[in-house]
């Protein structure tokens, strides 16, 4: 059996690109399956996949925030796991659509399914409070079942005796 040090996994999810969100969630669910106490800390662009999907929230588009800049940001960066962009070959959304179609054909779980599975497996999903404030996002804008929003100190303390990944 591995040592205690290897029994914890902390992932710093700083990117909201589809090609980063996928490995974040695949590694998180796998860590939990291995019995590791797993935490994902979602920060900056990485926070946006935690937003409720527009369709699930019963709306056409999300408009959040107080200032005009935050409102404009919400329109330009949709958020949620259903509208992720690729960091390469995005082609105005055609790339992700093709990637989703390929994934479906190969029975690769979608980011939406993996996010739900992570929750079912007891993965701690922690939104970054500072990013929420900066981007004008409230707890109600994010999906249910998350841990309390926290800061860098909480994340670093959690990472002290854990395997730490920065994705």
């Amino acid at each position: 059996m591995p040592e205690e040090k290897d029994r914890k996994l902390v992932i710093f999810a700083w990117s909201g690109d589809m090609d980063k969100v996928w490995p974040q969630l695949i590694l998180a669910t796998s860590g939990a399956a291995m019995g590791m106490e797993t935490t994902v800390f979602f920060t900056f662009w990485g926070l946006f996949p935690l937003l409720k999907n527009d369709k699930a929230a019963g709306r056409a588009r999300r408009i959040t925030g107080d200032s005009w800049m935050q409102k404009m940001l919400s329109l330009m960066n949709r958020g949620g796991t259903e509208h992720l962009k690729l960091s390469k070959m995005n082609f105005a959304g055609a790339g992700p659509a093709m990637m989703k179609s390929l994934a479906k054909g190969h029975k690769v779980a979608s980011p939406t399914e993996l996010m739900q599975m992570a929750q079912e497996m007891g993965v701690h999903l922690v939104p970054c409070q500072m990013t929420m404030d900066l981007m004008g996002l409230s707890r109600e804008d994010l999906i249910d079942g998350l841990d309390e929003p926290a800061g860098a100190t909480t994340a670093l303390l959690e990472a002290q005796d854990a395997i730490t990944l920065f994705i």
């Binding site: 399956a33 029975k107 779980a109």
Partner: protein
């Protein structure tokens, strides 16, 4: 110890990480010592089940390749 399967999981066609994640989730409901049979077609699941067994302490009792279908028998820790 029992030699009959407490559960069979048909995970054919599923890709990484689903065979492992679904197995880990399913065996939570079982008793220590229970046997689980897992059927998968993802070739990556062979090293992954070995690593998972090593990491969790669940015993990989046997695994075989039956015409492209990987059959794993796991004894819950």
């Amino acid at each position: 110890m029992s030699t009959t399967m407490a559960l069979t999981l048909d995970l054919k066609g599923l890709s990484c990480p689903l065979p492992i994640v679904k197995t880990a989730k399913a065996i939570k409901e079982l008793q220590p010592g229970d046997l689980v049979e897992v059927l998968a077609t993802d070739p990556g699941s062979v090293p992954d089940f070995r690593a998972w067994a090593r990491s969790t302490g669940n015993e990989l009792v046997e695994h075989a390749n039956l015409d492209g279908v990987f059959r794993f028998v796991i004894r819950k820790r």
